[in-house]
Symmetry: C2
């Protein structure tokens, strides 16, 4: 058991225009490299408190239990589900993409009887559909994906919580891709539990999952008759670890990752949420104009499109892998492949957080023209750039 020692890592500088991770600000990278302190050091407790306070602003909530789970977005999903579901509970999950499907799988593993409310990939649910599913299946828990990372569709959230609460259930929301890039209003929307990821519109590397639990969710957690099946994600213990008054050791938090998130959140608040959302929209409009001018179609109806994740159909006759590979190797630009049933059918072009800027939009359109041209795709040279530039006038 020996092996040659590999050379020192020398990561290339990419432009990350896939479904996440997005580009990381150098200030965040520098924060990651600050000296590690103990996880019970008073200095780190201060960092944890500040991370919580800033996450509350980003989530638009006053929920005391607003933390960064020590795992990636999928760990946050699992934390929400396993803390709120007890074996035998009924759960309704909206499945209109890979991540709704994942939530169903997670809930079934937690012992829930799950009714999957289905919609084709790229579409969203109406309030009537949700109301019907809730009345029919009488769930204790409802799970909805706000921003489907696999399809680029945005679920309107207004009105859903009332339906769920009127039926005595609690509402879990996936906002992995939306948080920090468009409004996520936990309290206004009445969402009881939500989770996100750090590597999307917060532009921090992956490794933590922002999570918030409101009063109804906590009440449900407190009323459990069985232990949460995951020790690592058991919020009845994790909440004491993050408690601002008297901390109780649970696990060892990823110290340096929390430094990174702290700095990423500072950048978000410095910019201001409204300015940040407007920036994401504007760059989306420019990208949309450019792609449309090249004859490329979006996979999601206009009114449901996520500005930070643009799913478009791969034009007929164009080689999916060849284009993505040329973009990466010749231009250092990463875009995402389609996921699940969309594999080979769509590209997912992310404009998340730091990535969302005019320079990247123009750069990408120029590089895409090059790649499409190599594939003999018929288009008007320069039309994409020109249309995007019109938006930036």
């Amino acid at each position: 058991m020996s092996a040659p020692i590999p050379p020192v890592a020398n990561a290339p500088r990419r432009i990350l225009m896939g479904p996440g991770p997005s580009d990381t600000h150098t200030r965040v990278l520098a924060a990651l490299a600050q000296p590690t302190v103990g996880h019970l050091d008073p200095y780190f407790l201060k960092i944890m408190n500040e991370v919580q306070a800033m996450l509350r602003v980003v989530f638009q909530t006053t929920n005391p239990l607003t933390i960064a789970v020590s795992g990636t977005g999928s760990a946050g999903m699992e934390a929400c589900v396993v803390n709120l579901v007890s074996p035998g509970d009924r759960m309704v999950v909206g499945v209109n993409g890979v991540f709704g499907g994942r939530m169903k799988d997670v809930a079934e593993r937690a012992g829930a009887v799950v009714h999957a409310m289905e919609r084709p990939f790229g579409e969203v649910f109406t309030l009537e559909e949700i109301e019907k599913a809730v009345k029919t299946h009488k769930p204790q828990v409802v799970g909805i994906v706000h921003a489907e990372t696999s399809t680029g569709a945005c679920q309107p959230m207004e009105g859903i919580a009332k339906i769920v609460h009127d039926a005595g259930a609690v509402l879990i929301m996936d906002c992995v891709t939306s948080l920090g890039g468009r409004p996520v209003r936990i309290d206004d929307w009445g969402v009881d539990a939500a989770y996100s990821g750090t590597q999307k519109c917060l532009s921090c590397p992956p490794g933590l999952s922002p999570l918030t639990f409101g009063p109804r969710a906590l009440e449900r957690l407190d009323a459990r008759k069985t232990k949460v099946q995951s020790w690592y994600l058991d919020l009845s213990m994790v909440r004491n670890y993050w408690a601002e008054s008297s901390r109780v050791y649970h696990h060892t938090a990823p110290i340096n990752m929390n430094y990174g998130l702290h700095e990423a959140l500072r950048i978000v608040l410095e910019e201001g949420l409204d300015v940040r959302f407007a920036r994401h929209l504007k760059n989306h409009y420019a990208l949309r104009a450019g792609l449309t001018a090249l004859g490329i179609q979006f996979a999601v109806a206009e009114e449901n499109r996520l500005p930070m994740l643009n799913a478009v159909f791969i034009p007929q006759g164009v080689d999916d892998a060849a284009v993505r590979s040329r973009l990466l190797n010749e231009f250092g630009i990463e875009i995402g492949a389609g996921l699940g049933p969309m594999k080979g059918k769509t590209w997912r072009i992310g404009l998340m957080g730091e990535t969302s800027c005019p320079r990247n939009v123009l750069n990408f359109l120029a590089a895409l023209e090059n790649c499409l041209s190599a594939q003999k795709f018929p288009m008007q040279a320069g039309a994409g750039i020109a249309a995007a530039n019109d938006v930036y006038q």
Copy 2:
């Protein structure tokens, strides 16, 4: 929902002599700050392959499934248990400290019928005790802690796997605190599944959990009749994400944390395992000499002491919190409090990875003298330093 933006993080430089995290090398901090790439980027796949190859050397195993779980050590523990335990399985867990107790809790949440084989904190198990428990309780899974982080006791591992295998069971081993600091010989010992943490003797910040699964463990995983209860930690999917030939998306790995682990492992292999283990022993001997000269007693019998985690009794009349607080605030040195029933009774003085060096041993003994002197503890001034220096002659 708004909050003042806190000032930029400005982490103090500590000497981390607690039970982990340990000091992080500046090379590892610099690696954390390399540009984030996509988690399916060919460059990151290369990093993953190299991390796996280096982890195999450190674990002394040829197991193909040797990876870094995307969570801290407790996530690695949960990964081992939930993948190998199905509801109703019998498990024997050695409980001689907090982490054995944690494994019992995790196993019960996974539906196991657990027999806790108990020993007072600080002691270890004999082969006869283990054999008796296995014969009596006929478990499918046995869990043993190699290095009890809560007590500083080291469980001899030779001979245990034969007992477990003869009974048709598989052996899980916790080596969170030992890996990289003293021999951990997965293949020689016949351990079927093991997990560790990055923030102990590997001297990488917390956030990942090195894990290895051998053929018997994989066979058991493949033969499961029910899904693993955790989606996030389901190794039947995670193994394909880490597969060297054709990767399948599962979750998004913590990219920059893996850069850090990559560099930490390079440092371990550059030093060489045997040299590294000898260094941990020598600094332990020096610390032991110094503490003994001051009249401080170890909490673990000499033959079972972990060189990287020195649990000592707090001398009578000395204020636990006052000493730890003075060490931290006046000298920037962190040591650990006692955990569980040892709270207020012991200190845990870590000499792990980068922290384990003569300079830190001498520095700590000098600072401890200062703190004990402030508490009017009777001792011969300078005796600790002199005794430690004798070891370094």
